[in-house]
Every structure is written in C-alpha cells, then in structure tokens.
Amino acid sequence: MGEKFAEKDLVKLDGVLADLGSQKGTLIPVLQKAQEIFGYLPREVLVRISEKIKVPISQIYGVVTFYAQFHLMPRGKNIVRSCQGTACHVRGAKGILAELRRQLGLGEEESTTKDLGFTLETVACIGCCGLAPVLMVNDETHGRLVPDAIKGILDQYR
C-alpha cells in the first residue's frame, strides 16, 4: 500500500479484520468499520479487505456501489444530510437544500467542499418528520428549519 494512509489507521483496519474477518456475513460490517477509520473506502483498502476475508474484489465493489452509505471518494470532515422525506418535501426541503448549497458554495453536481470541510448529501428520510424540514450534521439532528437558520447551524461546525 502507498504512503497516503497513516500506519495507525492500517493497524486499526487489521484489528477490525482480525475481530470480524471470520464471522459469517461480515463484509458489510467490515466495510462500515473501514469507512469509519478512513472516512471513505479507497481502492487499496478494498484490496486489503478482499485478501484478508477472501471475498473477490468484484463482489466487494458490487456491494460498495449498491448501498448509499459507502463512498469511494474522500469526504468532508462534517457530513451534512439534508432530509428529502415526504414531510420535509411538502414543508420546503428544496429551499433548505438550495440554501445549504449556497452557504457551502457547492454547485448542483458537487457534494464536497474544496477544503474538505463539508460533504452535502440528501437522505430519503431520517424519521424526524414531526419537525420537518430537518437535516443532520454528523449524528446531530436539527429540525424546524428555515433557510435563515442554515448559516448559524453550519457555523457551529466550521
């Protein structure tokens, strides 16, 4: 593997593989842990996982690209998930998403800020419909949003 990964992260990955590697149906939990460590799933990491748990890389790639949770590209330090659930939709989620893009300076097709500070994603529903529209930053949920509140929320994480 190249030098772009910290030695301690690779040690952590090997630890995860040693812990979970032999369990049945382990691929998804291993990928979840690996993504926790590296922030995304670089090719080198997938190759290492494939060798250790004896699952073909093609199959791993198939799983990684199937689930919305896995990412093959580097991601921002903070993950902003803008909820697009039905309740949020009818209560103005589009406007919230537009304001998020504006505040983060992201174009329609972009998802991560240049400084890797934020990654903006949409999510189908975070189950907090009573407070629609809502968004999540990392594990924190913010509800009853209006476009004006977005800047203040993002500033807490800058």
Binding site: I126, G127, C128, C129, G130, L131, V134, E140, T141, H142, G143, R144
Partner: protein, 121 residues
C-alpha cells in the same frame, strides 16, 4: 443481578415499583424527552440548562432522567416535572430561558406555569 426465575422477575418488578413510588414520595424528578425528535428540537441544551440550574441552586433529592419520544413532536422539547405525591406535569416547547422559571416556580415552589403546561398524567 441475574434473573433466573419468574420469582426473581417479580422481585425486581416490586423493587422497581417501590423505587419509583419512593421517588414520588420523597424526591422530585425532572424528565426530559430525549428521542431523536426531542434532541433535534433542542432537548440536549434543555438538559444541560436543567443540570446547570439544579447545581447552581444546590437542590438536593432531585433526579434528572430521560425518556423516549411520547409522540407529541409538535411540542418538543418536552420536560416533565414530578413533585412528591403530585401527578407528573408536562411542559412543551421548552426553551433554555424557560428552565430557571420551571425549576424555581414549579419544581421548588409547586406553582405550575400556565403558559407552558401541556398536561398531567
């Protein structure tokens, strides 16, 4: 403790019930709704404000607890106050600046805040 039989389970049930009623008799409780909805509406800030207020006042015998979502998302954050021998009273749409009033007026002095109260159990 390990629960090995129905009798063990009943014992725990009785002691849990006693503990709850003892709390009802002798101490006061503050209960904050800490489901995802509550937290999204600011329940964590409310919880911190309550703990601050209680320690600032040096109140004794007050337990601060959390509970799940009671389903009234519109009124989150929700805070319940239980005073010895009295029903549990729920406040809704609680803001951090309401906390000192809830603690001083209701928890300490038993005067229910008519502007924030939702219901009692």
């Amino acid at each position: 403790m390990a629960i090995k039989s129905l009798d063990d389970l009943r014992k725990i049930k009785e002691s849990a019930k006693q503990a709850t009623s003892a709390r009802h008799e002798s101490g006061t409780q503050v209960i904050v709704g800490m489901g995802t909805c509550g937290i999204a509406a600011g329940a964590r800030t409310i919880m911190t404000a309550i703990l601050d207020e209680i320690s600032k006042r040096g109140l004794q015998n007050v337990s601060v607890m959390q509970t799940g979502c009671i389903g009234m998302c519109q009124k989150e954050p929700l805070v319940d106050i239980v005073r010895p021998g009295e029903p549990r009273v729920t406040y809704g749409n609680v803001k951090p600046e309401d906390v000192p009033r809830i603690i001083s007026e209701h928890l300490v002095n038993g005067r229910i805040l008519s502007d924030l109260v939702v219901a009692k159990i």
